[in-house]
């Protein structure tokens, strides 16, 4: 219940800040890079329980939305990949509780598209996500994707961990992660339209 109230107040806070045209700031300490400022107005916000069953529907809705809004099928395809991978990431690492929520937002200023997920995750996941993104950012997207393939090939039984590198290379979106409130992790992807 306390977490639900926290989520509601967090969302209201963000909405008010957006209305006033201010940059959105995390409500508490930022662990990694600061959350990127939203790219223009918020176009889509969907809140749901972080379960796998929702991913297909939200992803395809986001794809159609981008296709009709931006009139570029290629942008819609890139958004589809980002939606799939960010949602998967959030669902896999969300805390398993009844009041757990996952929120996805799409915003755009006409030049860039921003897609972000906000979910409640294990602190260990936030740390490993931050390290993974920092590692990826040391390489150009193609080199990082090749390195991720090589790692997956070296570790046949382990999780693939291709998603973040794939997003950067395939969609040319840049990634960042931040903490908002207690244990709320925001993964943000920003790319050119």
């Amino acid at each position: 219940m306390a977490r639900a109230l926290h989520w509601a107040s967090l969302r209201l806070n963000r909405r008010l800040q957006t209305r006033r045209g201010k940059a959105l700031q995390s409500t508490t300490n930022t662990i990694s890079s600061k959350p990127p400022r939203p790219k223009g107005p918020l176009l889509v916000s969907v809140c749901f329980r972080p379960v796998w069953a929702y991913i297909d529907g939200v992803r395809e809705f986001g794809r159609f939305f981008c296709e009709t809004t931006f009139k570029q099928p290629e942008v819609a395809e890139r958004a589809r990949v980002v939606l799939q991978e960010t949602l998967e990431n959030a669902v896999k690492y969300s805390s398993p509780s009844d009041d757990s929520r996952l929120e996805i937002e799409i915003s755009s200023d006409g030049a860039e598209l921003q897609i972000s997920t906000l979910s409640h995750a294990d602190p260990k996941h936030l740390q490993s996500l931050r390290e993974e993104i920092e590692m990826l950012r040391r390489f150009d997207p193609e080199a990082a994707f090749i390195a991720a393939f090589a790692r997956a090939a070296r570790e046949p039984g382990a999780p693939a961990r291709l998603g973040l590198a794939r997003m950067r290379f395939e969609t040319q979106f840049e990634l960042s992660v931040s903490e908002e409130g207690e244990g709320n992790v925001r993964l943000t992807a920003v790319g050119k339209l």
Binding site: W52, E74, E85, I146, F149, A153, A160
Partner: protein, 126 residues
């Protein structure tokens, strides 16, 4: 008798497979489930085993109609490439992927896959 033709086909919503002996496999649809390895890994391993038993020199995998996959599904192709790399020269075969260059994931992923086994992976992009 072709072993490849005897490989059991997986059952997965929005995804289908056609095997055309002696050496063509067509993958169609979408793979975006939580753990594709659990459902499909044995099938891919079966294809690899059958290609070895049939002593094929080349297996063609047509993915042009596999329109969308998640990164966990890309892992299936990485694993297949790894198995291929572990074969001795006498038993190795070429894995030829027929791809559609208009589909982004195919354009990006298969070119990178090729870096894992440049001599064993061939990409035909249409």
């Amino acid at each position: 008798m072709s072993k490849l033709a005897e490989v059991g086909l997986p059952t997965l919503e929005n995804f289908s497979v056609q095997i055309k002996p002696p050496a063509l496999v067509q993958l169609l649809g979408v793979i975006a489930i939580a753990e594709p390895g659990r459902v499909l890994s044995a099938f891919f391993a079966g294809l690899h085993r059958a290609a070895c038993e049939d002593r094929l020199r080349e297996v063609s995998v047509d993915v042009r109609h596999l329109t969308f996959v998640n990164s966990s599904a890309i892992r299936l192709f990485v694993d297949w490439t790894t198995w291929l790399r572990n074969l001795g020269p006498s038993e190795s075969y070429t894995l030829r992927f027929r791809t559609d260059r208009r589909i982004t994931w195919q354009r990006t992923s298969f070119s990178v896959l090729q870096t894992l086994a440049p001599n064993a992976i061939v990409i035909d992009a249409e």
